[in-house]
């Protein structure tokens, strides 16, 4: 059982207890953040790199955290931005712009850590074909069951826009799966 964010933050501010408290913070959020990042970048090794960078960034900037939002929201925001930047850098790495969705689907196809069935894979492909924002919103709403208000804080987008994005995402996924499942049948 972990202590409250407030207690952990208080100990991080104290030089004598900072490392131990930060360890607790990592333990508390590593799994949640890992899966949040994994949904965005798919590959385990990329997720591992990004997650480590996220915690290093948190360590460096924890003193600037103004507590206007919850720690959990702040961490999610950093993880989301780091993941999106990672994809953006990957896209701009080569002279010919990469088709990011195609690249992520290829990663999914070759991922040794994918456990799902064929239908599960098709669902993941359908999600990966969505535009970036819709994909983020769908993942956070569908898998993490996050409220629109929380998502609004993390993504800095209005609740209305998020609801619209989710609605469009669901429609597109349904359409994609209908076509694919009909082919399977």
């Amino acid at each position: 059982m972990y202590r409250s964010d407030e207690e952990i933050l208080k100990d991080i501010e104290n030089n004598n207890t900072a490392t131990q408290a930060f360890k607790e913070l990592i333990d508390k959020y590593k799994v949640k953040l890992y899966w949040h990042i994994r949904k965005i970048v798919i590959s385990h090794s990329d997720t591992d790199d990004i997650l480590q960078n996220v915690f290093i960034k948190v360590w460096k900037n924890i003193y600037t955290f103004k507590r206007q939002s919850s720690l959990y929201t702040w961490l999610y925001r950093i993880a989301t931005n780091e993941s999106l930047n990672f994809l953006k850098n990957k896209k701009n790495k080569f002279f010919i712009p990469l088709d990011l969705n195609k690249m992520l689907i290829e990663k999914l196809e070759t991922d040794p850590y994918f456990n799902g069935s064929d239908a599960d894979k098709e669902l993941q492909k359908a999600i990966l074909l969505l535009p970036e924002k819709q994909r983020l919103v769908f993942n956070m709403r569908y898998f993490d069951e996050m409220s629109y208000e929380e998502m609004s804080e993390i993504l800095n987008t209005s609740v209305g826009a998020l609801k619209a994005s989710y609605h469009h995402a669901v429609k597109k996924i349904e359409k994609y799966l209908n076509i694919k499942l009909n082919i399977y049948e």
Binding site: K30, W35, Y113, D120, N139
Partner: protein, 127 residues
């Protein structure tokens, strides 16, 4: 009703991944902190070096200016027959008067011919 799948049901992670993750991150942070500290020390020592170089230049400049000023002054005094003004503190006025009065020293080295007088203008030293 079928339970909605979590993302963890689609993907897996290498064995013991999460167990080792915390220590791995803490080690990286420790390494980065050490690097930061040594960089900070380096920056401070570079700063000190620059400051000491700048201070040396300032000192050299002041010393040079002082020497130039002193030499200029002494040259001026020599040309005005005010030799002892800068050589013997307190007694310089008297030596200057002596020099002016001792006409036979005009073409000689003034250092070889001087008198020191005290406040009552009585001779206290004559070479």
């Amino acid at each position: 009703m079928q339970k909605r799948k979590k993302i963890e049901d689609f993907f897996s992670v290498p064995e013991n991944y999460f167990d080792n993750l915390t220590n791995e991150i803490l080690l990286k942070i420790e390494k980065i902190d050490k690097e930061y500290q040594s960089l900070k020390k380096q920056k401070i020592s570079v700063f000190i070096r620059y400051v000491s170089i700048a201070a040396s230049f300032v000192i050299i400049l002041f010393v040079s200016l002082f020497l130039i000023y002193t030499l200029n002054n002494s040259n001026k005094k020599l040309s005005n027959n005010e030799l002892s003004h800068i050589i013997i503190d307190d007694l310089d006025i008297y030596t200057f008067q002596i020099y002016k009065n001792l006409e036979h020293t005009t073409n000689e080295n003034v250092y070889d011919y001087y008198l020191i007088l005290d406040n009552n203008e009585s001779v206290i030293y004559e070479p």
